[in-house]
């Protein structure tokens, strides 16, 4: 109805306002995309960052913030981000940015140390760090407790984390030439290392922690013996000179060897951290354990025990059945007698002596006493024998002497006293003394003889005069004979006709 408009007198015209361009340009997608990508990158970066840890070092030598890596078995697990001094200025605190997956091994007993090139008596390690620079090594802990602050070890642990094998403890009165890292041998094969050692709490011995690596750890059973294989084992005993060594390396660096005696039960491998005794040498280590020991006291009157030392064997017919445990002199104020009782420990079963026809119906001690009484009644006596003429070492021999004077075992004493016999040496000594005595006598006689002989031949003696006369007579006789011989030569007929006047 356009007419209507015209009829209205004054209607204002609508204002023409140019459309304001408020439409958002599509170009805004670009900053939005850029922002989204930026946020995404930031989020992934933050997500990819693992925990931050602090490690306390003694020195920052070789460490560099932003450069030094944390490596586990050669795998990069983190980087040092900053290094600063501790509040007391004695240590260095390094902060490391770890990889996100390292979360699970950052536990209480995880260990860190600086890997540097190292040359020790045993080996050369960390040569790679000469090129790559020092890095921080990690040994993963087993604990479940999470930890962020660590203290670094001074040196790398000898046994790398993850090495298969077992730790054992060895008890020893003295360390000898052993040191950390010294090898452990099994049948002369390097089978492990000494990890650490520490003094016993009582201070009476040392606990040596050793690591036996797989597959050798399965040969360590509760029955296994460990012994010092350090240096050269040289012993001069009644058995002669013995020289034994494990390997050239053990001479230089010391070492431990182990072996499981062939005798004895076959046991399953020992548990980790089992404690063993560290013996001094192989012989001692492999000696069977005491089974049924009896101690006796021996008193050797009028004879020296010089050369008899604890550890000297006690033999029966050349077979060892025990050893001397103690040689202790004593003085009796009552009898004013000085004696050197020798204590021996006899354990025939330990040394493999078999008893045949043992009556089994009695108590072991009673039976033992009975057997000993019978044996002594039959002349069982202990006596000293020279084991080695060169060194003069003695040993105790127990033998039957049927002609020995009757004696009994004194069970009242503790330890019981076993009757003794003068040893062979004493006999020798006696005969030597006798010999010397008679020799002396002979010498005196000879002296006398020579004296009288001297008397006979001295000048102006009867013998001398008579001898002179005799000689003169002899000279005269000889002269006459010569005259006779001359005459007979010239007048052989005189033999038949006799002297003629012509001859005159």
């Amino acid at each position: 109805m356009p007419d209507k408009n015209q009829s209205l007198p004054k209607v204002p015209e609508s204002k023409v306002v140019p459309k304001k361009r408020t439409r958002l340009s599509l170009v805004w997608i670009i900053p939005i995309v850029a922002a989204v990508i930026g946020v995404w990158v930031a989020v992934t970066k933050i997500m990819s960052e693992g925990p931050k840890i602090t490690i306390v070092f003694q020195s920052a030598e070789g460490l560099e913030a932003g450069k030094t890596k944390v490596q586990y078995n050669g795998l990069h697990v983190g980087t040092l981000t900053s290094i600063h001094l501790s509040a007391d200025h004695h240590r260095v605190i390094a902060t490391a940015q770890m990889d996100p997956k390292s979360e699970e091994f950052l536990v209480k007993d995880t260990k860190f140390w600086v890997v540097r090139p190292q040359i020790s008596g045993m080996n050369i390690t960390g040569l790679g760090t000469l090129i790559s620079g020092d890095y921080i090594g990690v040994e993963l802990g087993q604990s479940k407790e999470s930890e962020r602050n660590f203290t670094a070890l001074d040196t790398a642990p000898l046994v790398a984390g993850g090495t298969l094998g077992r730790f054992f403890m060895l008890k020893t009165p003295e360390l000898g030439s052993l040191s950390e890292g010294a090898p452990i041998y099994f049948r002369h094969l390097p089978a492990g290392q000494i990890v650490s050692y520490e003094l016993d709490k009582s201070g009476e011995g040392l606990n040596v922690r050793v690591f036996v690596q797989a597959p050798y750890n399965q040969y360590v059973t509760p029955n296994t013996r460990f012994w010092h294989a350090s240096g050269i084992d040289m012993s001069l005993s009644s058995a002669g000179l013995r020289l034994q060594t494990e390997s050239l390396m053990s001479i230089l660096a010391g070492g431990i060897a182990f072996e499981t005696p062939a005798t004895g039960p076959l046991l399953p491998p020992a548990e980790a951290n089992t404690t063993f005794t560290l013996f001094n040498d192989r012989a001692e280590a492999l000696r069977p354990p005491p089974r049924d020991p009896y101690t006796f006291r021996l008193v050797f009157k009028q004879s020296s025990v010089r050369g008899l030392e604890p550890g000297a064997p006690v033999e029966v017919g050349g077979v060892t059945i025990g050893e001397v445990t103690e040689v202790s002199p004593q003085f009796d104020m009552n009898t004013m007698e000085f004696s050197v009782p020798v204590t021996i420990s006899v354990d025939p079963q330990r040394y493999g002596v078999r008893f045949l026809n043992v009556p089994g119906d009695e108590d072991a001690t009673v039976r033992h006493r009975k057997v000993m009484d019978i044996l002594v009644a039959h002349g069982l006596r202990a006596h000293l024998k020279t084991g080695n003429l060169l060194t003069g070492s003695l040993y105790v021999s127990v033998d039957l002497f049927p002609d020995a004077l009757p004696a009994t075992v004194d069970w009242a004493q503790n330890p019981a006293e076993m009757p003794t016999m003068p040893g062979k040496t004493e006999e020798i000594e006696k005969s030597v003394a006798d010999l010397l005595k008679s020799l002396n006598q002979t010498l005196t006689n000879t002296d006398k003889l020579l004296g009288s002989a001297n008397k006979l031949i001295e000048p102006n003696s009867v013998l001398d005069t008579e001898l002179n006369n005799m000689l003169q007579e002899g000279g005269g006789a000889a002269r006459s004979l010569r005259v006779l011989a001359d005459y007979l030569e010239r007048h052989p007929e005189a033999l038949i006709r006799g002297k003629t006047g012509e001859a005159k």
């Binding site: 140019p18 304001k20 361009r21 958002l24 340009s25 170009v27 805004w28 670009i30 900053p31 995309v33 850029a34 922002a35 990508i37 930026g38 990158v41 930031a42 970066k45 450069k67 890596k69 990069h76 090129i131 790559s132 620079g133």
Partner: protein, 212 residues
């Protein structure tokens, strides 16, 4: 007096002045068939968008490493600033300075300059017009040179591949850096410098002028 105030459009390509068809703002050049506009469409908004995008990318470009060097000692990633520090030495300082100038100062200067231009144009400032157009020309001129850093990086990556001794790999920061350069160039491109003069001329003659 401007062509726009006279209702005339000038072709950017052939320079022909023409009058747009009645009721239409946009048309084509009768001589060269180029699109004709009074001013670049949505100039301020587009410039701002590119500028914001560039600023957003500028952060990761500087925070993230641009190059990863793999040597025997391990991997080492360097950001631009670390590169500058690394190059800084009594003899190498000019090189360090070039990197600092081309990679850090120029992109930031560009973003700041364009931001300044946008704000002043938006507020209809009429001061320092000559200075501002000079600034714009300078930004336009140096824009492409920021790519030097990207080129250096890509050349290094291509050339240093001495496996297994040493090799160089590009790192994510490089892509953001390239994006910054490209986005700032686009921002410069979408900014219409004639806007600087529009407010000046409109204030002289037509204070309530509406501009795109």
């Amino acid at each position: 007096m401007t062509a726009m105030q006279q209702g005339l459009q000038r072709c950017d390509t052939c320079g022909l002045l023409s009058r747009p068809a009645p009721g239409e703002d946009e048309g084509r050049c009768p001589r060269c068939d180029e699109e004709l506009v009074f001013r670049k469409p949505d100039s301020l908004q587009r410039t701002l968008a590119f500028l914001v995008a560039a600023a957003v990318c500028y952060i990761p470009a500087n925070v993230l490493p641009v190059m990863t060097t793999v040597t025997a000692s391990g991997r080492e990633s360097d950001t631009i600033m670390q590169g500058v520090v690394l190059l800084w030495s009594p003899t190498g300082w000019p090189l360090s300075f070039i990197v600092l100038f081309a990679s850090i100062m120029i992109p930031s200067a560009k973003i700041l300059s364009l931001g300044y231009l946008l704000i002043t144009v938006r507020r209809g400032s009429i001061e320092n017009n000559t200075q501002r157009i000079r600034l714009y020309r300078m930004v336009d001129l140096i824009g492409r040179w920021s790519m030097v850093d990207v080129f250096v990086d890509t050349f290094t990556v291509a050339l240093i591949q001495l496996q297994p001794l040493m090799s160089v790999e590009p790192a994510p920061g490089l892509f953001f850096f390239a994006a910054v350069v490209v986005l700032t160039m686009l921002a410069v491109e979408s900014f219409d410098p004639r806007l600087i003069w529009d407010s000046a001329s409109s204030k002289e003659i037509q204070p309530e002028v509406q501009y795109a």
